[in-house]
């Protein structure tokens, strides 16, 4: 167990290091001066600081070292378009994205896994076919088109739900954690119930748009795992022993199916993040995806670099942690040959 933990810790550290290296080299690939792309400032004769010094001397190892050092100290450079520190901006937008991702992932898990189990147990029955064709249709939706359809139907035609943003401008909620629902619950303003209701209304459409596709993927993965487990000999043995269904389910099926589901979910995280970023743009959700796509329109290279580094680091962290957990609860899975 300790070796597994150490191995995955090692893997995460190496991967993050490669990402850091990529983000540093991006500054040289982007048009313009590398120093400007790294910090957002122009390298002048009188610019102070070790990174500027390293760039004047042209020693690339020192440049990388001081770049990493600046990152760790929270000096992430400034944006081209606003000249404000990127560190503050990132921690303003990141919670919004995490919030949306979290709700969408939770919704998909709560719908996708039970439906997938049902389909798996009723393998090659009508229910199974219905669920499978439904999920096939759901996977094929272009996520931005789905978001637009939801807006067209629920906001423009039926006038039920708001079409963009996180919270109506009527409500002024002091920002503490950045997660809008938590902020509202913690605030002491008199209209917080109305604000809470409004925030929920704003959340519904983006969450549905993101989780639509993820739910379908989760459903298919779960079904496959259940079908595979149900076909094994030990399930047949348990059935011949006359064990009741719920015992077989909780003791044998659920545990073994979960082992093969978890690593597949880890792969899905990056797709989920891509979908969240697109949906954010459509709904003007003030998250990191919306901000990054604005940054590319404005050719804001420091912002693109730091956004890429941060988002991929988070994805790496979650994906590897999930894989690590699945390894810890299932040591029998073949050792990774490398790492």
């Amino acid at each position: 167990m300790l070796t597994t933990l150490l191995r995955y810790f090692n893997l995460i550290v190496i991967t993050l290091f490669i990402l850091l290296l990529i983000s540093f080299s991006l500054a040289f690939f982007f048009p313009g001066e590398p120093y400007t792309n790294l910090t957002g400032n122009i390298l002048l004769e009188e610019t102070v600081g070790p990174l500027a010094q390293a760039f004047r001397e042209g020693n690339i190892f020192q440049q990388f070292w001081y770049y990493a050092k600046n990152l760790s100290m929270g000096d992430w450079g400034v944006s081209f378009s606003t000249a404000l520190p990127l560190y503050d901006k990132i921690f303003q937008t990141l919670p919004a994205t995490l919030e949306l991702t979290f709700y969408a992932a939770t919704l998909s898990l709560f719908i996708g896994i039970p439906c997938g189990m049902l389909a798996g147990f009723l393998h090659h029955k009508k229910t199974d076919y219905t669920f499978m064709s439904m999920s096939m249709v759901m996977v094929s939706f272009p996520v931005f088109w789905l978001a637009l359809l939801l807006i067209l139907i629920f906001s423009l035609q039926l006038n039920l739900l708001p079409m963009s943003g996180r919270l109506s401008l009527l409500y002024d909620i002091p920002e503490t954690s950045g997660f809008v629902l938590i902020d509202i619950i913690n605030s002491t303003v008199p209209y917080r119930y109305a604000a809470f209701y409004d925030a929920i209304q704003h959340l519904i459409l983006p969450t549905i748009a993101v989780s639509f596709i993820t739910t379908a993927v989760f459903l298919r993965t779960t079904r496959r795992a259940i079908v595979d487990v149900m076909a094994t000999e030990y399930i047949k043995t348990a059935q011949t022993r006359g064990l009741p269904f719920y015992v077989i389910f909780s003791r044998h099926v659920l545990r073994n199916a979960m082992l093969s589901i978890l690593p597949l979910f880890a792969i899905q995280i990056s797709t989920l993040v891509t979908n969240v970023m697109i949906v954010e743009t459509v709904f003007s959700w003030p998250g990191i995806g919306h901000w990054l796509i604005q940054a590319i329109y404005e050719r804001d290279y420091p912002a693109i670099r730091i956004g890429m580094l941060l988002v991929s680091s988070i994805v790496v962290f979650f994906a590897m942690s999930l894989e690590c957990i699945s390894r810890l609860i299932d040591p029998s899975r073949g050792n990774k040959q490398y790492a």
């Binding site: 893997l11 931005f144 088109w145 067209l152 990056s270 693109i304 890429m308 988002v311 040959q337």
Partner: protein, 297 residues
């Protein structure tokens, strides 16, 4: 009269024939294949059968609804957009651009990905470790981020979008090939070939590649659907194909301005993306279960 010549008469279907026999068991898969064929024909022959040029502006018929609508006209079967361009022609051209771009991206990813995957599967030690680490890192970067970076470096345009999506697709081919090659190399028939003195390259091309080809085809089919969605998404976000090109995602983002009075301008291109992706997914899924059934026989 009993058949004496048993051995000569016996029919041995080739792997492809038996795959096809399994594939056509499923009616849904056949419907999907037909739809996909229609889209392929439209993508190739589209420019020959469209009534108008995709950028021809008919100023006397702006925002015309589709023909089945009361105000529609038979001259423009699917209506026109805000500049009076015929939707039917634009969608046919759009299918060509989007589908062609997706196939290009997948071919690019397939060739590079299987090569790297084979190398990663056959090597061992430090080299393999470094290669695998780098590949795993690229696998977790979301495809939209890779596209954003490519666009930031090279600028916008359809070819850059195709390149970005190709790059983002490489890891999934590498992953599949790597595991397959690694598994196959432990089997006895490869050891036999080794004892016969075959080199790794000979083994790869003569023994492993023929066994791998159907796995690659299934993966490639499913990758095309991902590539179509990504190209359209990049076009929609204005990071891929640009306004003048009739790309389906670009058409949706152009239709946004008139979404309220002319919803068909975003519904119809989206519907064609959806149907295209759906038919590819159905075919890919049918192919996968056909292969699984063939193997289990």
């Amino acid at each position: 009269m009993p058949d004496v010549n048993l051995y000569d008469d016996e029919f041995h279907p080739t792997p492809w024939q038996s795959t096809w026999r399994e594939f056509k068991q499923s009616h849904i898969a056949l419907v999907g294949l037909t739809t996909l064929m229609v889209f392929v024909v439209l993508a190739i022959l589209g420019p020959l059968i469209t009534p108008y040029a995709p950028d021809l502006q008919n100023t006397s018929a702006l925002i015309l609804p589709p023909a089945w609508h009361d105000n529609g006209s038979v001259l423009h079967l699917l209506g026109t957009d805000v500049l009076g361009r015929d939707m039917l022609s634009r969608i046919f051209y759009g299918i060509q651009v989007t589908f062609g771009g997706a196939v290009g991206a997948v071919l690019f990813a397939l060739i590079i990905g299987t090569t790297f995957g084979a190398i990663a599967g056959m090597t061992s030690g430090v080299r393999s470790s470094i290669l695998n680490h780098v590949l795993d890192t690229f696998m977790v970067i979301p495809s939209l981020l890779i596209a954003i970076i490519i666009v930031a470096i090279l600028g916008v345009g359809l070819s850059n979008a195709v390149l970005a999506i190709g790059l983002a697709l490489i890891p999934r081919f590498v992953h599949g090939t790597r595991n397959f090659v690694k598994e196959e190399f432990g089997k006895d028939y490869i050891k036999t070939a080794r004892l016969d003195g075959a080199s790794s390259i000979q083994i790869y091309f003569k023994n492993i590649l023929p066994n791998m080809i159907d796995v690659i085809i299934v993966q490639g089919t499913l990758a095309i659907s991902v590539a179509i969605l990504d190209i359209a998404a990049l076009g929609f976000l204005n990071l891929g194909a640009q306004t003048l090109l009739p790309e389906l995602g670009v058409m949706i983002s152009e239709g946004l301005a008139t979404a309220y009075i002319a919803p068909w301008n975003i519904l119809l291109p989206g519907l064609s993306i959806f149907l295209m992706v759906l038919s590819i997914n159905v075919v890919g899924d049918g192919l996968r279960s056909a292969l699984r059934n063939r193997m289990s026989q």
